[in-house]
Symmetry: D2
Subunit: 361 residues, 4 copies
């Protein structure tokens, strides 16, 4: 039932299958009076789009988004915004081989058991193609956050396989096909991609996202903590198997005296917490990390069964990314922006009148 919506006040609902007629979404709760054009959305869609480099799938989708409602004379009206992307490069014939077989590591088996049938063309609704609409919706959130609050949400590729990238230079991120902030690792990444391509295999990745200039106070206590909602949003991205806030799993080995971020008159002295204390933003940068599994759409043969319970061996042909983590960078940014936008509106609803003289930095 009804799992295609995220957010309470800034609410995004999507539809569309990989090889259906179109993808679309409705964004509800956008404040009125914000300048918005299709070009604002297209930028991030182009960053996410397949076919932009030789490291991602060669499927070519112009992914041209149309705004169908909610914008009038160039500004948002406060009513629901409808977005549409028509599917143009569908090549359904590629997929007929998998109609009766459950690709190992895919959602084929679980969809079929859940619903009794599935749209097998390109993974149908389980395809990461759905994330195009998240990116479009996230672009609206990003625009609002930056325009009205100076909040900036940015992500980068932190690791592929054994190749870890340090956050050396944000400017590098947009200048290479890996979203890699570490120019010294580009060669190693390139080599890894070539090897995988040759072997017909794929690999996992780590993606990091940061939001800067987030005001203190976002996040609701108990269940709808900011970190809990971020974990939900980020784990909902295809292939994500782990989410960390701040130091994440490294906290297991940390002492309390080491982990706690001390405060001085000039602000916090460290950011082990990743910008969230008690589920509420502290004013420090919010930092999250995702672990993304290797795609199982590979040409290395794998054992599985078909719908009749017979054992078969299969390879997944078609056009697939050797590392889906790369294109996940703009998706992760979008999800973080959506969550922040939602909590900004929630905070405003209940605590509009709150004022303190306590220092914030």
């Amino acid at each position: 039932m009804a799992g295609n919506t995220i957010g309470q006040l800034f609410r995004v609902t999507t539809f569309g299958e990989s090889h259906g007629v179109a993808l679309g979404c409705i964004i509800d709760g956008v404040p009125p009076g914000i300048p918005l054009t299709e070009a604002d959305l297209q930028h991030d869609l182009d960053r996410r789009r397949p076919g932009t480099s030789r490291y991602t799938t060669q499927r070519r989708e112009p992914d041209q988004v149309k705004i169908l409602s909610g914008v009038f004379e160039g500004v948002t009206t406060g009513t629901s915004i409808g977005l549409l992307i028509e599917n143009t490069d569908q090549r359904s014939q590629d997929y007929s081989a998998i109609k009766d077989v459950f690709r190992p590591g895919h959602a084929d088996y679980t969809y079929e058991q859940k619903y009794g049938l599935r749209d097998y063309r390109g993974g149908g609704r389980s395809s990461a193609r759905e994330t195009a609409m998240r990116v479009a919706a996230g672009a609206i959130a990003k625009k609002y956050l930056e325009l009205k609050h100076g909040i900036r949400v940015r992500g980068y590729l932190a690791q592929i396989g054994e190749v870890a990238c340090e956050l050396k230079d944000w400017d590098q991120v947009e200048q290479n096909p890996f979203f890699c902030p570490d120019p010294d690792k580009l060669e190693a990444l390139d080599e890894l991609m070539r090897t995988l391509k040759k072997e017909g295999d794929s690999i996992g990745a780590k993606v990091s996202v940061m939001a800067e200039n987030v005001p203190v106070g976002l996040g609701e206590p108990v269940f709808d903590r900011l970190d809990a909602d971020l974990a939900h949003a980020l784990m909902s991205i295809n292939a994500v198997k782990g989410v960390e806030i701040g130091d994440g799993f490294a906290v297991i080995g940390q002492r309390g005296s080491q982990h706690r971020d001390e405060i001085r008159a000039d602000g916090f002295q460290s950011n082990h917490a990743g910008g969230i204390l008690g589920g509420i933003s502290s004013g420090q940068p919010i930092l999250a990390h995702l672990a993304m599994k290797a795609t199982s759409s590979i040409t290395v043969p794998g054992k599985t069964i078909n719908r009749f319970g017979e054992e078969v061996e299969m390879i997944t042909k078609g056009r697939h990314d050797p590392c889906v983590g790369i294109r996940a960078v703009p998706i992760a940014e979008a999800m973080m922006a959506i969550v922040l936008m939602d909590h900004l509106l929630r905070q405003r609803a209940q605590n509009a009148d709150v004022h303190t003289d306590i220092p914030r930095w």
Copy 2:
């Protein structure tokens, strides 16, 4: 606004501060006709309760739960269940020192900035004492899941600091104060606790939770995936900074040919996915891991500011756990049970009529 509720169909709403009059919750959506007594809830509450061993806080709360509604002649009626635990051992005087100071690593600063004031007694609403009601609500979910579907949700302590515990024996878990499944590590854990106690410091931990016998098909595509909802629920537990499903962050280094769980006529051949494919349960055991930070309530002095912006050094006296991860085991079980219960009802709503002949194991 309104962040004190979790779940869509099995819905848990809590209230209560650490040192207020009482804690309580309302559980909405419990199917009718389920035998339920206070003793069913008390068992897990006792497992979570402080004061049960020398390794956890010596604060003594009998944590006696009362069922106020929704149960008639020993069975659930299908109407909302009200639960109450009165606070009996409050000792508010212990906490007056922190009234104007923001303990580093605590939610003091963020609550005060968000709301303009805070109940400073024992952390108020930000205290992990709130989790008592989660455990009580989770006990209802656990009972239903086991009684009606044979689903069993169990957790254990997987690591404290550098001491990692293997899942050697489930029976061990309830026989030592650490929820440790590895009898060979009890001594090392005991020694670590003594050291921390002496130093007045604390340490992080890793907790693992597993659900067995979960039917295939739970979880909604796109945003309300089973893994996304688990990540939300588990990250909402106090002190959690990371959540993994299945292999978690280890997937970064895995090839696609290695990660995918192959299928044969007798079922899946491995469980790297942790029982969830495309956000939907596969019928395999569901496995999640949490990273819990060390509590910042320690007697090692730390630098911070007070509400007037002045720098101060403080220690947190009072009765605190050196490792909050230990008592988190029943809490993590409760949260997983709540999510599974919710998705069981959701699955039933939409897909009650679905039947397939595809093998399930």
Copy 3:
């Protein structure tokens, strides 16, 4: 914020302005395996469509709906269904005169004050054109309800001005342009319409909706009662100012001994309650009535102000219905069907296992 969605488990979210690019909606929670084509939706859209008779606005919209997702090989897949209707006959030039003026009785003034701006073309989002998507979504609910449960939802025009129509013959309803079940009133209605047209005025109406064969047990106690959710859904239709269940306002004058529906071995002996007891369906026909105000888009001059606070007199030109109640019949049916569908899924979620031997009729 986020008011464009209705339903909990069967969830409908709409977008689109009267004179925007397109109208659309997303329907989430449709069970899988239901045969569905665009023709299934088009039938009710055609019933609602303007331009079908001389009594409704002469604006011509083919209102051709497209299914963009969620249907594969002719059956629903269980994933979200995207629908689209492109606006083709927009004639924006008709509306430039009202750009700076607030038509009395319209939402012009309230939208402008709420959002600081408004899409003034044809009423923008406040136009009843939005209800086209409700009708399309409702057609899916109607199909499911009838196909799987034999539930039939039908409406009729009960009154226009002083001309009251009795429910003499359901078959008549689809055979005249008024949805009138009383052939003896057609002439009077026709004459009333002519008079209004001549005078440039409009008139109110009463619409009735009935659902037959609804199983006992739908509706949740306390807030989400079936009658409360029906009241919400029906009152959300443009121009509705009153909602009744069963005897409605007539109950004020009824004694308890008169109102209560007595039960005998062969079932209920009357249906004053309109099929709902304690917020839960009783198995009897569910009956609701709506009061719809006269449209304020008339050519009788009216006093109002413009955005600068100046008094002006205005008439609303354009193509408008003299009685919006007529076209509201399929809309009211759609809303009742959506609510019943939602509650059918909710009932199934919690009470799937309930069985009684108590008679139901």
Copy 4:
């Protein structure tokens, strides 16, 4: 499932049966810093309480409410507020006769069919006793609305049976046991009550509620219109069978030229709309009317069946109101206040930045 909550941002969840241990509720989303004591809630609880006059049930419940959380040092903290009323006068023995019988006009039959069992003591969850918690929650909303926005929500009894009361004097409302604003009708009401008492019968009523000084702009377009949410909230009160906004069912006979509220420089010239245009508050008083059926708990014998399908004749002994509409006045006020509070927070979330120079009155 989960029907015991109302509101999106100001969220009220209740529990408790007529003859259970206690009634309670959780109110989530209350802004921080609002002075609040138990006395603030008790005033309206006393107005609703049975036993306060000879016209209402003689059941005596002190209905003493306790605040269990969310208030610290006399002001709200922004966290969830838990409220409790213990049931003290239960007399369960009165009700054993109805254990196996379905009282005509009651929810006995529908509860039993829905859940397979029911708490038959005093109607269990279906009893209007649940509304005590609505009144307590509504008192918080009323306090906030008046304190922060000068909004005043008041109700009165508009009609019992054939005796209609005009709104002659608000001050009269609190000075007679009927909440009647028309001193000339007190005698007729008194006589009607005596007659009913003697006959063992009951009667319907009309209740009106008004909110004054509501700012323009509350209400969300399309589904969550202010009038739709009011209709939902008011129809969710036990025994309500009809809801009107403004002129309500009288609009059926009105011309458009008559119904529309013209505007001049000094504001609206009439209020047929009841303060809501296009689902959004216009700044005029908001006016709603409820039709409440006669209670079916009467001593006039009625025909029904028992759980074995056998026909029986029954009378309902016990202590019951001859007209439940009287005590519904504070309940209706509470529900309107809850809805307004919710929409005030929603409006603030999305449109906090909106400013216009358009006149508001």
